[in-house]
Every structure is written in C-alpha cells, then in structure tokens.
C-alpha cells in the first residue's frame, strides 16, 4: 500500500487572506519567525501496492481537473510509502 499525495497551493500572485490571517496571528502567540504564510491543501490518496506510472498519470489528470483549479492554483503529486 502506498499513498499518493497531492499538494495544492494558490498561485503566488493570488491573494491568500487565510494565510495572511495566520501570519498575523503568529506574533500574538510570541512566534516571530514568519515573514509570510501561504495556506494550501493536501490530499492523501491510498492505492494498493506501488503506484504504476499509469495510475500516477491518472492522479495528475484528477489533480488538474478536480483537486485543483488551474486558474488560481498549482499542484504537485508525490508518492509516500
């Protein structure tokens, strides 16, 4: 069994008010390290056995059509064991 992970982030030029809200909450708790914060989504997809190249290609397609909106977001697909 392996896990295919799809991480989706807003494109850098798209305003991320949620990330900004997190960034401004951090110093209130004494965390002063953050210059900025961007918030994204992570999908964990479980498949039986090692993912085949065909499966990965399908996941790429799903990420492009459903899991992300290419107008405002980018994604990366990776495999975790």
């Amino acid at each position: 069994m392996a896990t295919i992970v799809v991480e989706v982030m807003l494109k850098p030029e798209i305003l991320d008010p949620q990330g900004q809200a997190v960034a401004s909450a951090l110093p209130r708790l004494g965390f002063t390290f953050a210059q900025s914060v961007r918030q994204g989504k992570r999908f964990e997809i479980t498949v039986a056995g090692d993912p085949t190249p065909a499966q990965l290609a399908e996941v790429e397609k799903a990420a492009e059509t459903l899991l992300s909106n290419p107008v405002i977001e980018t994604f990366v697909v990776k495999v975790e064991k």
Binding site: L15, P17, L66, L67, N69, V71, I72
Partner: protein, 223 residues
Amino acid sequence: MRIGVVTFPGSLDDHSALRAIELAGGEPVSLFHGSTDLKEVQAVVLPGGFSYGDYLRCGAISRFSPIMESIIIAAEHGFPVLGICNGFQILCESHLLPGALTRNSDLHFICDDQKVAVENIKTPWTAGYTQGQEIVIPIKNGEGSFQCSDETLAELEAESRVVLRYVGKNPNGSRNSIAGISNKQGNVVGVMPHPEQAIEELTGPGDEGLIFFSSILKEMVGR
C-alpha cells in the same frame, strides 16, 4: 416562457429565483442536479447557496453534476445561463466564464445591500437596464473576490464583458471591482450580488433586480 432554476444539494436561493421568474411574468421550472433533463426551458438560472457544502472549492463538485453536462453543451451553443453567487462560482469552475471567486479579502462573510453599476446591457439578462445604471441589490457571500490573470482582466475590459461593477468601496478585493461578467457571446452571465433578492420593496432593498428576469423574458420573445 419557461425558465429553469437548478437545485443542487445545498442550494439556498433556488426558490427566490423561481419566485423572481414568476413575478417577472415567466413560467418557473424546477430542474434537478441529478438529471440531464433541461425540461425544454429556454434559459436557466444557477442559484446561490452552498452546493455540496462548498467542499473542495465553491462550485467545484456541482460542476460535474449531470445537469451541468447538458447546460455546458447548451451554453456553448448560445443558450442563456445566469449564475448568481454560488451559480457564478459554478460557471467559473465549469470554464464557461473565466477567472475564479476566492475568499473575501477581509475574510468576512459579507451580507449587505450593495450598489453596483450595470456596465454591459448587451446580454439577454441585462438588456432592460440603461447603460451605466446604478442599482442596489444584496450581496451575501464569503468567497466573492473575483480573481483572474492580467491577460484575462485586460480582455474582459477591452471586450466590455464586465456586466456589474461595485460602486464605491470595493467590498471584497475583486479585481477592478468586478461584480459580474459575461462570456464572449454574452449568453452566459455570472454575478456575485443577488438580483433575485431585490424584486419587490417588501422583501428587498428595492425591485431593481427584477429587470434581470424581465429582460430575459423579453429577449426570448424577440428571438
């Protein structure tokens, strides 16, 4: 004149839209997301609400519902479609309209009477307004900030496809204060504020929203 309104799981304003069509003198027809049957309507409204709980992204899951298959094909052939609020989000996710609606810049859910200018009266949904007419209709959303690439923005402006623009303070960080747009042909229109909630003095800030519905009825007769 049969105008359809689609009910998705989580639609809220479908009955308001049906009522607006009736008040404008049309025959409102309920359409269901799980069927591909457009029931011979001559135009369709995608109403506001929180279809599929706004899961994943607003409108992202509704976009793949059976009724949308029929609507996307019809819209590409000139069939008039109006998306209001969540309906606008569904039209963007369907790629019938460019851009996307993202979280309001101040993160607040906004519920207010909003002044907007009607900047494109060449669409079948806005033909009854006068160019530049300022109207007050309610706005109620958490993800109404219109975003798109610089090229798309330039194209929308150059082709006069901005249908509604916020007047005064930009409420949500939308690019160029855009509140509504159309596709190239003009048959598909998406607006963030709610014309169907401003159809009579008793229940809204006025009745200036009703013209969206009387416009489409008049336009369809003319065809």
